[in-house]
């Protein structure tokens, strides 16, 4: 663990070097454009799919979303999503009752496993959707995650 942990370099230095080496061209190849419209969708899965460039999404058993059914705190809810759909291109996580439904969207190039593990905020108990784009079409699975209250003063 320590081996790789300690090999962290100062950010600007690396970025500067990388830029000089022509590895990164800001705003183009190295960073995706941020899809503002998709992140502004309120709470409709369909609207989110449209904002991402699709038409509709079909429920699929080839997507698995791993998370606890009950979160001890909504500020950090762990999710792992895996897709068995051929030609998986992207994996998104959506929380229906958050102010904006889309939480995160991951783009999976060839050679990378169609699996991501991350942590999401949930304002309250909600349906959570894993949305996968595979071979140009959208598929999803969903589950309810309960968010509980805690503590003695809150």
């Amino acid at each position: 663990m320590n081996g790789s942990r300690r090999k962290v370099l100062q950010g600007t230095g690396v970025l500067g070097l990388a830029m000089m080496a022509g590895l990164f061209k800001p705003g183009s190849a190295w960073a995706e454009e941020w899809n503002k419209a998709a992140f502004e969708v309120k709470n409709s899965l369909n609207d989110a799919v449209k904002a991402l460039g699709g038409s509709t999404a079909t429920e699929s058993k080839d997507i698995t979303m791993t998370s606890p059914d009950i979160a001890e705190n909504g500020a950090v809810v762990p999710f792992a999503v895996a897709s068995k759909l051929p030609k998986t291109e992207s994996i998104a996580i959506l929380v229906e009752k958050n102010p904006n439904i889309l939480a995160a969207n991951f783009f999976i190039p060839d050679g990378t496993e169609p699996w991501v593990n991350t942590r999401i905020k949930m304002g309250q108990t909600s349906n959570v959707i894993a949305l996968v784009k595979a071979d140009g079409k959208y598929y999803y699975t969903s589950k309810e995650v309960k968010v509980t209250l805690g503590g003695c003063g809150g």
Binding site: P68, D69, A71, V76, P78, G153
Partner: protein
């Protein structure tokens, strides 16, 4: 580590040995899911970000004397960080006081780096958009005791005095709610909402609790020290504000730390 008791309870229920109450099955399910939640957070602990910032701060030349903290004696001799958290709080000849890690860091910031005590104690806890040195230093120092056993001496007369004072504070009821530390932490197998409450008068629970602080609190997105833990317990006890590095805070820490002797440090942990 943490789940043993609840998992055992869940297994009993699963085997049909549990109580017949209709709520029992749901209860165990809720707790099992909370255990899954805790397990999913696992070892990927943002406290590492504090640890590395703390290491940089420990070595950085700061303050009016432009000195680092590397010569600070945390109880095992100047500059010894490894294992230091396991022997604190401790009586220090140079200051003539019993000090926990945080108050000892204040002493070193004053003596080595030339800060005033007020400067060294200012902003002891971070918050949204506010990074403070103390949290990071505490995370770094505590992490260097990971895997080591708590070993607080508590034999010097001042240490004995602090322990006895801490013990009485633990049982001191006051405020509009009549709460003492003991109200929540004096009996076995209790929960507040869904959070397990360690019985801090019992060795195994005291060890389990003490050895997981400091901790990254996911509810706050911050690494919290034992000083913060006590400060916020008293807030919820409806007491006035416990002052950072105050005699009562150090006495109580002495009581809790010594009761945890033999427990294996696993901090900074990650918690709700």
């Amino acid at each position: 580590m943490r789940p043993n008791r609840t998992i055992a309870a869940a297994l009993l229920l699963a085997a049909g040995l549990g109580a017949g109450s209709p709520g029992a099955q749901e209860k165990s399910k809720a707790i099992q899911e909370i255990e899954k939640y805790r397990a999913a957070l696992g070892d990927d602990n943002p406290a590492e970000l504090w640890e590395s910032r703390g290491e940089d701060l420990w070595k950085a030349k700061r303050g009016p004397k432009n000195a680092s903290l590397e010569a600070c004696d945390l109880g095992l001799g100047p500059g010894v960080v490894k294992g230091a958290y396991t022997v604190l709080p401790k009586y220090f000849e140079d200051s003539g006081k019993v000090e926990d890690l945080e108050s000892r860091l204040v002493t070193c910031m004053v003596t080595l780096q030339g800060f005033t005590p007020e400067q060294a104690k200012k902003d002891p806890f971070g918050g949204p958009g506010k990074k403070v040195p103390m949290d990071a230093l505490v995370a770094y120092v505590a992490a260097q005791s990971r895997g080591m056993k708590m070993n607080v001496a508590g034999t010097h007369p001042k240490e004995v005095e602090a322990y006895e004072m801490g013990r009485k504070i633990f049982f001191y009821h006051g405020g509009p709610h009549d709460f003492a530390c003991e109200t929540c932490h004096g009996a076995d197998d209790k929960r507040i909402r869904l959070q397990d409450l360690p019985n801090l008068t019992k060795t195994s629970d005291a060890q389990r609790a003490y050895t997981t602080w400091p901790a990254y609190r996911v509810s706050q997105g911050e690494v919290r020290s034992m000083q913060w833990r006590l400060n916020d317990c008293f807030r919820q006890q409806r007491f006035p504000e416990l002052e950072f590095a105050s005699p009562a805070s150090i006495a109580l820490t002495m009581f809790l730390a010594k009761n945890a002797n033999g427990g294996v440090m696993n901090a900074p942990a990650i918690k709700r």
